[in-house]
Amino acid sequence: MKEATKKKKPVTSIGVCSDASISASGASFVYLITGLSLAVGFWVARNKFSVDLVSNPSLTLCLLWSIEFPIVIFVYSFFRRSPEKFSYFRALGRSIIGLFSGAFMNALGAIALGAPIGTQYLPKTIHWSFLMSVFTFVPATAVFGASWTDWHRVFASMKPSGNIEYMIFSPAYGAIIGGWFGAWPMPLDWERPWQEWPICVCYGAIGGYIAGQIVSLSVMFFLRKHNKNLKLA
């Protein structure tokens, strides 16, 4: 059984590549939209609600993810797997489930790593994990749905194939690793307000997310082109 799926995988992925592929410039457009919506989130938080991550993390995070989330699902649902079977709205619907389950997983991971538990941190943790879920789980659910083999290949085996899978894989891992590094300054005694949970972890995650986007873009631009040339030759 295992062998069978393993053999099947390359076939399906190549097939998918051909029908729901996205060019590198398209990917950069997607990134631009998601990046802009993050910026809009920060702008709204600052100018409409006059809060920022430091002064009111929960509200800011809430704004960030609730602005980012619709944009991400609208964009990524266009690239869903086997569009003939699953409609666009179905992709939207399943990404809402993905948002909650992803938030749950992220929250559990954060708590295992040492995020403060306790009632006053609860809203912050919840909103933070929603934001992380938007970065990590939501694009994947929008594209893969419940297709476990795709999840497994991209996230566990780290063998994404095709631009769209790179677009899911690289920013998601970037956000997680960025968040992991972002936790480092928390115990230091600098007594800065941003050392509080989850502020610097958020900054780290956003930074890692953007870095992941840049990495995947450069992979697409340089490696892919290189590969194509090789193939043509």
């Binding site: 040492g114 403060p116 306790g118 566990a156 005694d189």
Partner: protein, 949 residues
């Protein structure tokens, strides 16, 4: 086979030796130790000295003049009292440039010349008020300094003989002497004083000192009580300790507005204090013969740090003033004042004093016996301030005969110094006889020569000069006396120099040597992992797991360079452990195996982190560097009946589960004779523990049980005895039944279970739950071993038998256990109560062993002995056995390398931060814990490799 076995044991033993030597060398350079002596000085001691027992005869008739409390009928103690009352105002972290005029410094700064009242007094009346530049000995932390000031010694980090845990000073000290001599003490301000002297103060108004951000609570409390107390007559010594300047320095630095505000506030306070004193200073007044001392306990750097030995930190100041207007001017030989013109053109002088001399000088001024361990000498200038002309009536005489006043002063001073020198010599003799690390015989003989020379001169000639009041001419007499004083002073100075080199100076060469040895041993030990039996040896490049292990170990090692990470070390270890758990989870999902184990492991990590958080709040309650934040608290009231019920039940339940687990393990394994019986003994121990705990709660109605079996000590003692018997059986079985060692698992189970019962017993109720979590997490690590390898076949030749990641997880898990069981790397984190489980009376070695088992039980003892459990049980062929034996050796070496790396990092950090503010509060305890842990780890690795290999 046998030879190789021996070789491996020798390797483990070799590393134990190298580490011990390296640590010993480093410690000799870093942790200076001093033995505290339990002796006390008494008034009657002075008759043993060669000095004059009665006051200098020609002034005998005047001895009742200045003193209300000392009259002729009361016997004089060591010296003649010259002041009645002393007001000591301690301004914490008072830099010399806060008090001394800015003319003494290259350029005026905003914080200078703020305490103008002190400068005004010192320049207006230089015979009754003086500014001193005071030299404090490192470590310049408040607690050590107060100890130094009051004992007159040089407190080191480890004063051996320190009372078990409590900071109260047990050595003889100035405060203690005051109480013994019937003086009444009042204290206000910093609560460190009441910690150091719990019972000595008649009245005390302590205020909490550890909230550094609070600039005003302590000071306002002081001010509130200070002024009314000054008008009262029910005290002899008043101590007011202000903390504002210290706190302002820590938070804002010296060059800041709050600092200047604080200094200005102090100026007004001091003005008022001096007004009150002077208004009462008339004959018969309350403060007729009062001395005011305004002093710092240490200095601070411009950033507000202190603790080390840089000039800024050790240079503090002392202002002394006597309410008596006519004080003696002293001979120029003893005057250390350097004078400058201040901006107003007035002459102002700053003299020099050592804080070491404070206790002796004040004792001499108040006429009490000197603290037994004081090595300071009576400072001539400060002594002269207090000792005005002995008789107030004949000050006209002084005006035209200053020569006679000088003579009078010198006669007194030489006698005081004589007692002083005798006392210091007595202390040094007793110290070098009773201390294990005393002084070298060369040094001692040099000191003795100096003393005996001075003493001979004294008994031969000077004593007669003094006795015979109408003898020689004044000038020859004075010069003889001055010679005698100089002889004493040279004795004092060479002695203090010796004591300083012994007690206060780091030996950087030794420290670097020790560190270098550790680094070399680290390299050797990493080589030892790969060296050895060629058939199984590995020399391929780094695998993913090995690279990741290296990364995590380095992250953890580097984290020790910052004090914040050391404070939250448990959290850091937990963070890294959870990271490895997440990596493993990813691999197990990828391989589609062991997913359940990975999730359970993460769940156990989460349980441990909650436990670590609880431990951290306990630590924060006592640590001066942490603020407590009970953020982890859930919304349940702590005294909810369901919760208390659960708290009582859960530990007993987990012991029962442990018994079941052990039973399952034993039942499953084939009959292995002795090993099995040893494990059965552990089950009995567990059962006894469960019985003990359930009889301690009143839920089960087993209260009467303790009476039946004869006291609550019976069960713990039985458990200890069972444990010892088990260990004895295991050791003898290992020695005599060599052929019977094929099955590792059962032997490991037997050893670990034998060790675990005392550990669980000592860790009290949380122990069993933690042991369960530990067991579960360890089981998951074992199951997940090797999931990150590419394929099964790949694993056969590359790193086939060594999985660094699971050893790393095991190490991190045991470190987490240390913190989760409520320990932290500080001496107040030790659970002294554990030393008395099963015993009521104190026997040092026994109680120390119990305390060690409690402290390192989970984190080192069980962890080292349980390491073989990580080897999965697959094949049982004889050939696989040899391979596994080699694998186990590698695992132990790797375990040793990981422990030694962290210790090396700690040592590097301690070397770098040896002048850091927190060196004595934080880095040094961490160093001690790590070093003890490493030696224990090495020792146990030796034992374990003798047992298993």
């Amino acid at each position: 086979m046998e030879t190789r076995l021996n070789k491996k044991n020798w390797i483990a033993l070799g590393f134990l030796l190298i580490h011990s030597v390296a640590i010993l060398i480093f410690t000799r350079g870093f942790l200076l130790t001093r033995t505290e002596l339990p002796f006390h000085s008494t008034c009657s001691d002075a008759s043993l000295s060669p000095c004059l027992s009665s006051p200098v005869p020609n002034h005998d008739s005047n001895s009742d003049s200045g003193s209300g409390h000392f009259n002729q009928s009361q016997p004089k103690c060591w010296t003649k009292p010259v002041v009645d009352r002393v007001v000591i105002i301690v301004l914490d972290a008072l830099r010399i440039d806060f008090v001394a005029p800015s003319a003494f410094f290259p350029e005026p700064k905003p914080w200078m010349d703020k305490l103008t009242i002190l400068q005004k007094l010192a320049s207006a009346n230089d015979s009754s008020a003086k500014i001193f530049k005071a030299f404090a000995d490192p470590p310049t932390t408040s607690l050590q300094r107060l100890k130094g000031l009051t004992t007159g010694g040089l407190p080191t980090f480890i004063d051996v003989g320190n009372s078990f845990g409590a900071p109260a000073i047990v050595e003889d000290n100035f405060i203690n002497q005051l109480v013994r001599n019937g003086k009444r003490l009042v204290m206000m301000g910093d609560d460190t004083w009441t910690q150091l002297f719990p019972n000595q103060f008649q009245k005390s108004y302590p205020f909490p000192s550890f909230n550094v951000k609070d600039l005003d609570t302590v000071d306002n409390g002081c001010i509130e009580h200070l002024f009314p107390t000054l008008y009262e007559d029910d005290w002899d010594i008043l101590i007011a300790h202000f903390l504002g300047v210290d706190h302002a320095g820590h938070i804002y630095g010296v060059d800041s507005i709050p600092m200047v505000n604080k200094l200005e506030q102090y100026n007004t306070v001091l003005e008022k204090v001096i007004d009150i004193l002077e208004s009462q200073a008339g004959p018969g007044g309350l403060h007729e013969s009062t001395m005011l001392i305004v002093m710092g306990d240490h200095g601070q750097t411009l950033n507000g740090d202190h603790g080390g030995g840089t000039a800024e930190e050790v240079e503090t100041t002392m202002f002394a003033m006597s309410t008596k207007k006519h004080t003696t001017s002293i001979p120029p030989e003893f005057d250390t004042a350097s004078c400058k013109q201040n901006s107003a053109g007035k002459q102002i002088c700053v003299s020099y004093i050592e804080q070491l001399d404070f206790a002796a000088t004040l004792s001499a001024l108040l006429g009490i016996s000197f603290p037994f361990g004081s090595i300071g000498h009576v400072n001539p200038e400060l002594y002269a301030l207090g000792s005005s002309s002995w008789n107030l009536d004949n000050f006209e005489l002084r005006n035209f005969g200053s020569q006679s006043a000088v003579k009078e002063w010198v006669e007194n001073y030489v006698n005081v110094l004589c007692v002083n020198a005798w006392q210091v010599k007595r202390y040094i003799d007793v110290y070098s006889n009773s201390s294990v690390v005393g002084f070298s015989s060369d040094d001692m003989s040099r000191i003795s020569d100096l003393y005996s020379a001075a003493e001979q001169n004294w008994s031969k000639s000077v004593k007669h000069l003094l006795m015979d009041s109408n003898g020689d001419e004044d000038s020859t007499k004075i010069s003889a006396l001055k010679e005698q004083i100089a002889a004493y002073l040279s004795f004092f100075s060479s002695l203090v120099e010796l004591a300083r080199s012994k007690w206060t100076e780091f030996n950087l060469n030794l420290m670097i040597t020790g560190f270098a040895m550790l680094v070399i041993s680290l390299i050797l030990q990493s080589l030892a992992i790969f060296h050895g039996d060629k058939p199984y040896a590995v020399n391929s490049g780094l695998s993913t797991g090995a690279a990741f292990t290296l990364f995590i170990v380095l992250v953890r090692a580097c984290s020790f360079l910052s004090n914040s990470y050391i404070l939250e070390e448990g959290k850091v270890a937990n963070f890294l452990l959870a990271t490895t758990g997440l990596i493993k989870l990813r691999y197990s999902v990828m391989r589609k195996t062991m997913r359940k184990e990975a999730v359970i492991f993460l769940a156990m990590v989460s349980v441990l982190r909650v436990s670590i958080d609880i431990g951290l709040t306990k630590q924060a309650a006592t640590s001066q560097f942490m603020s407590s934040s009970p953020s982890w608290m859930l919304g349940i009231a702590p005294d909810h009946p369901a919760l208390t019920y659960a708290v009582e039940i859960a530990p007993i339940l987990s012991v029962v589960i442990l018994i079941c687990v052990l039973y399952r393990v034993i039942a499953k394994t084939p009959n292995e004779g002795l090993w099995k019986y040893v494990s059965v003994c552990s089950m009995i121990s567990y059962f006894l523990i469960a019985l003990l705990w359930s009889s301690e709660t009143n839920i089960f109605g087993l209260d009467g049980l303790l009476h039946v079996i004869g006291g609550r000590n019976r069960i713990p003692q039985t458990v200890y005895i069972i444990g010892l018997v088990q260990l004895f059986l295991l050791a003898s079985a290992r020695m005599f039944c060599a052929g019977n060692d094929k099955n590792w698992a059962i032997r490991t189970v037997a050893l670990v279970s034998a060790c675990s019962s005392p550990v669980i017993l000592l860790s009290r109720k949380q122990g069993s739950m933690l042991a369960l979590a530990y067991l579960l997490a360890g089981f998951c690590i074992m199951r997940m071993e090797g999931v990150e390898r590419r394929t099964k076949s790949d694993g056969q030749n590359k790193f086939s038998k060594l999985n660094p990641l699971s050893v790393l997880q095991w190490t991190l898990l045991s470190i987490c256990m240390f913190f989760a069981s409520g320990h932290w790397c500080a001496f107040d984190g030790l659970r002294y109560g554990a030393a008395f489980v099963g015993f009521d009376e104190f026997v040092l070695i026994r109680q120390a062993v119990l305390l060690t088992i409690e402290t390192f039980g989970f984190s080192i003892i069980l962890s080292v002995f349980g390491l073989p459990l990580l080897i999965p049980i697959h094949s049982q062929t004889p050939q696989a056995h040899g391979e596994k034996r080699y694998q186990l050796f590698q695992m132990y070496m790797l375990y040793g390398v990981i422990s030694a790396t962290t210790v090396t990092a700690t040592i590097l950090c301690v070397t770098i931060h040896r002048r850091h503010l927190m060196v004595w509060g934080l880095f040094a305890p961490k160093f001690v814990f790590d070093v003890v842990g490493l030696i224990l780890t090495d020792l146990l690795i030796c034992l374990a490799s003798a047992y298993y290999l």
